[in-house]
Amino acid sequence: MDDTIAAISTALGVGAISIIRVSGPQAIEIVNSIFSKDISNVESHTIHYGFIVEKNEKVDEVLVSVMKGPKTFTVEDVIEINAHGGINTTNKILELLLVHGCRLAEPGEFTKRAFINGRIDLTEAEGVMDLINSETDVARKMALNQVNGKVSSMISNLRNDLAEIISNIEVNIDYPEYEDIKVMTVQDIKSQISVIESNINRILNESQNGEILKNGIKTAIVGKPNVGKSSLLNRLIGEDKAIVTSIKGTTRDSVEATFNFDNIVLNLIDTAGIRDTDDLVESIGVSKSLKIIDEADLILFVLNYNEELTEDDYTIFDKLKDKNYITIINKIDLKKRIDDSNLKNIVYVSALEDKNIDDIKDKVKELFNLDKIRTDDLTYLTSARSKAILIKVLEAVKDVKNGLDCYMPIDMIEIDLKNIWNLLGEIIGESYDEELLDQLFSRFCVGK
């Protein structure tokens, strides 16, 4: 019971208040590290208002209840974070807790701790044990299912490639006299590590896409006045009979309206209401646009077919480099004045004449790989646990690289490589055992 556990203890749902519970010796310390106020010395059983922050950026506005042991359900220090809800935000908070040192609680683990620490009796606990037991297989499958087949086999392949390197290093170490066995070089390790890194980054990105599908794509429409943003919007909405609703957004996402097409949800962010888009956008300068771009998953950058590009347009393009964006050149019913020879992701439309509007939707699907994702299999890595592990993998990859750069000997590097191997195993539900040794003996010819 040395470790501190965390879990979301309310059902996930958009708009509902959600509670994330943390229990264990480091509960206060860990929450303190992601909370805007210092709660390290507050009275027990008190509630504190503030923000969950990640690298100085606000994630959510929350109420934090501090309950110090032993007068708590688990008898340990317990913190409950009341968040604004939303799958995205709640998961994000859990993810932060895991990254900062919490372990995701197993099913029934809070109850289990309550029992172990003498808070509840054996009869109550027996029930929990049966639960743990019955969930063993399910849990194992869940661990597997939280990553879909594609990701799982990708991780499995990465892990196998890594095992080859590790067992090669082990053979070099355990059978140093065998000179005809390939000696692992820094370059071999570096290239393998880079493959792992880029794949993990890709999985994380794709998971982001998976999440986007579940939770909606944060979309911003930017562009100069009179390029036809609102008529374009009305075309998109009108045509698909979209429901325009007002959802109370979190402080992080100022979602003003959502509409969907083909089961894809677009959340319009901070366009300050569709009703008066035109008025407002007119007052929005480039700097405001840049802020919006930062927050969005997708930017619809609307340009006028009939106008030349300005300095401001180029500034925005520069900012769009690393984002998903669609360059919508509107008003193709007019004469061409724009020089679009250097532009990318272009869709030519005429909102006025309702021309090529569907091309925008296709482009959205293309950008987010949505055609390839079956809508009933949107799992990817939506679990905070898997994500936290992948983030740890990236950290370990960094450790390997640093070690190599500092000319650390292979036995040190190997510590981090094994760590990566174990972490990858954790994600796909495989454990250590004698796997590596078997590799070693089956792949290399050594002996007396």
Binding site: M1, D2, E106, K112, F115, I116, L122, A125, M129, D130, I132, N133, E135, T136, A139, R140, E170, N172, I173, D174, Y175, P176, E177, Y178, E179, D180, C406, Y407, M408, P409, I410, D411, M412, I415, D433, E434, L436, L437, L440, F441, C445, V446, G447, K448
Partner: protein
């Protein structure tokens, strides 16, 4: 009436007998042939990756192998120098005549220790407790404890080609009754197999076709006594050659004649994965054009060369052909033919961590009878069995080394928790905390235990404590002495970045290009190389060492949570049945050990933990 009887005079038996006698217990060593005491029937070397560290551990605990090897060296080198401090390990060619001779001398000069030539037929017991041994000639010898270190002698069969003979190594008489009698007492008997390559007459080899392999040019010792008995300049070299296409052809054409590949159809023994026979290597690794072979000197006193890598169970005429197909060995004379040997071992999961058997109180086993392979693996078990039998008779708690403390701890835990399929060899990859289990710090890890059990003398212990004190003092200097940009001129000569502000010697030492000797001129005192080495390792690998310590810490709680000896797993109705089965077989001492049993998953551990608390 003896306190302790040790059955078998191999590497396990010698350590067990010495530990027991040195702890003040009246000890009898029973061996089939006194002239075979501490014999090296296979390769003429001591140490190797991981094994060399075990020899250092044996020495730190007060065992004999390291000291004896130091007195019998033909050549010694430090392996894996470039691969890092965690995996450096000593390997020596030891003289096959001198080593046993030195060991026998030590045994004979040890108080409380008698040696008797005889074969043990059975273990005598009274109420499931050992009371002595019964010899094959019918004599009974009484004792309070017995340690079995029978090596490969239990029901041993030597196999060459299609022949099988009931005999031990070098055609010695095997032990024909003991293993069956152990089976009657409830021990599960396994059949294992190993082999040894041919020995070649040195003068018949043309060494000009081989690559020479020298020992290190620096003086090295296994023992922390640091006494050097050999002349660095007069080390005997080894030689490296490769198999030829012709060798492979001969082997493939005669495969059906090898005992292993059809020559014998009643082979039950499981051979070691790490040292396959040459025919096995050629079959399993078809694409490999050639295999490395080492020509290792066996002794200064006779002419045998050990052909490492060429273990086989082919008939004699095929062996001749095979040997003659090797470069430089075209006219070689085979002095001893290769053979495979099958022998009985017990299931190591029937042992406690002290190496006492679970079935019979005060009966201990060590070495190949427990399913291991290798002189060093045997010796360290013998030492632990000797120590623990002594402690038991003194009414004290056994010495149990953790996986995070010693390779010996890793080995014994693997034996008891996982059991073995094939003869077990120690590898650095078996240790999860190998950065902590280094060759250089074996004394720091284990000397206290050696002293506590009475195997380390006051004199040596004082020396050890002095070393520890000096390390602390030196570390203190490194951390408190700061150097400033005034030293930049000197730093430039070391090809390191100039300083812009003051920095401690310790932090400066962290730079990869800085050697500890570059900084000694700033120290107030002079320190030995081994002291400075400790500072250097600590500084350079601090981050990695911390990571390993965190891992150890994580496991500590589980390792310290004990499961009662007679715990009723059947009462836990919600344990998975596979887990229940495995737990009942192994009967783990702690939750940590239970976690390492394959087939026991985290949910089972949760349930177990809960019941233990409730």
């Amino acid at each position: 009436m003896y306190d302790i009887i040790v059955v078998g005079g191999g590497h396990a038996g010698c350590e067990a007998a010495l530990a027991s006698a040195r702890c003040g217990h009246k000890t009898l060593l029973v061996t089939g042939n006194i002239s075979n005491i501490a014999d090296m029937p296979c390769n003429p070397s001591i140490g190797g990756s991981a094994k060399g560290i075990v020899v250092r551990e044996i020495d730190a605990l007060g065992g004999e192998m390291g000291k004896c090897a130091d007195k019998s060296l033909l050549q010694i080198k430090m392996l894996n120098r470039a691969k890092g401090p965690a995996v450096r390990s000593l390997r020596a060619q030891a003289d096959k005549i001198t080593y046993p001779k030195n060991m026998l001398k030590t045994l004979k000069n040890t108080e409380n220790l008698n040696i008797q030539e005889a074969f043990v037929k059975d273990i005598l017991t009274k109420d499931s407790k050992v009371s002595g041994v019964l010899l094959e000639d019918g004599t009974e010898i009484n004792s309070r404890a017995v340690i079995l270190t029978t090596g490969t002698y239990l029901n041993a069969d030597i196999m060459v080609g299609s022949t099988r003979h009931r005999e031990g190594p070098h055609g010695e008489k095997p032990s024909n009754y003991l293993s069956d009698n152990l089976a009657k007492k409830g021990f599960i008997i396994k059949r294992l197999k190993t082999g040894t390559p041919p020995r070649i007459q040195k003068s018949s080899i043309d060494f000009s076709k081989a690559k020479v392999e020298f020992g290190d040019s620096e003086e090295l010792t296994f023992s922390f006594d640091n006494k050097v008995f050999y002349d660095v300049k007069k080390q005997v070299p080894c030689h490296l050659i490769y198999t030829t296409p012709k060798t492979h052809e001969i082997i493939l054409n005669n495969l059906n004649k090898s005992s292993m590949y059809g020559g014998l159809d009643d082979i039950k023994g499981v051979g070691p994965r790490y040292c396959p026979s040459i025919e096995d290597k050629i079959v399993r690794f078809k694409d490999k054009e050639r295999h490395q072979l080492f020509l290792e000197p066996e002794s200064l006193f006779y002419d045998d060369i050990y052909l490492q890598g060429f273990s086989t169970s082919m008939p004699l005429d095929v062996q001749e052909e095979m040997v003659h197909s090797l470069p430089g060995l075209e006219k070689a004379k085979i002095l001893k033919y290769a053979y495979a040997i099958e022998y009985d071992a017990i299931d190591s999961r029937q042992l406690k961590f002290s190496l006492e058997t679970k079935i019979i109180e005060n009966l201990y086993t060590a070495g190949q009878i427990n399913g291991t392979s290798g002189y060093e693996e045997a010796a360290c078990q013998g030492l632990i069995a000797g120590i623990n039998a002594s402690l038991k008779l003194e009414g004290k708690e056994p010495l149990i080394l953790k996986r995070s403390e010693a390779y010996i701890g890793v080995l014994i835990d693997d034996l008891i928790t996982k059991g073995i399929r094939d003869p077990y060899r120690l590898l650095t990859s078996r240790a999860e905390y190998r950065l902590l289990l280094r060759s250089d710090n074996a004394d720091l890890r284990l000397t206290d235990y050696g002293y506590k059990v009475g195997l380390i003398s006051e004199e040596r212990y004082n020396r050890f404590n002095n070393k520890k004190m000096l390390i602390e003092k030196c570390m203190d200097e490194f951390k408190t002495i700061r150097i400033t940009p005034k030293e930049n001129e000197y730093l430039t000569t070391l090809n390191t970045e100039s300083l812009s502000a003051g920095v401690s010697l310790y932090d400066l030492l962290k730079r990869p290009e800085i050697e500890v000797t570059n900084l000694t001129k700033y120290l107030n005192n002079e320190y030995d190389k081994e002291i400075l080495e400790q500072i250097s390792l600590e500084a350079k690998y601090e981050g990695y060492i911390k990571k390993s310590m965190v891992e150890v810490k994580k496991m500590e709680k589980a390792e310290n949570t004990r499961i009662p000896e007679n715990f009723d797993y059947d009462a836990l109705h919600n344990l998975a049945s596979e887990a229940k089965q495995k737990l009942k077989e192994v009967r783990p001492d702690t939750i940590g050990q239970a976690q390492r049993i394959s087939g026991v998953n985290p949910a089972d551990i949760s349930i177990l933990t809960m019941y233990l608390k409730g």
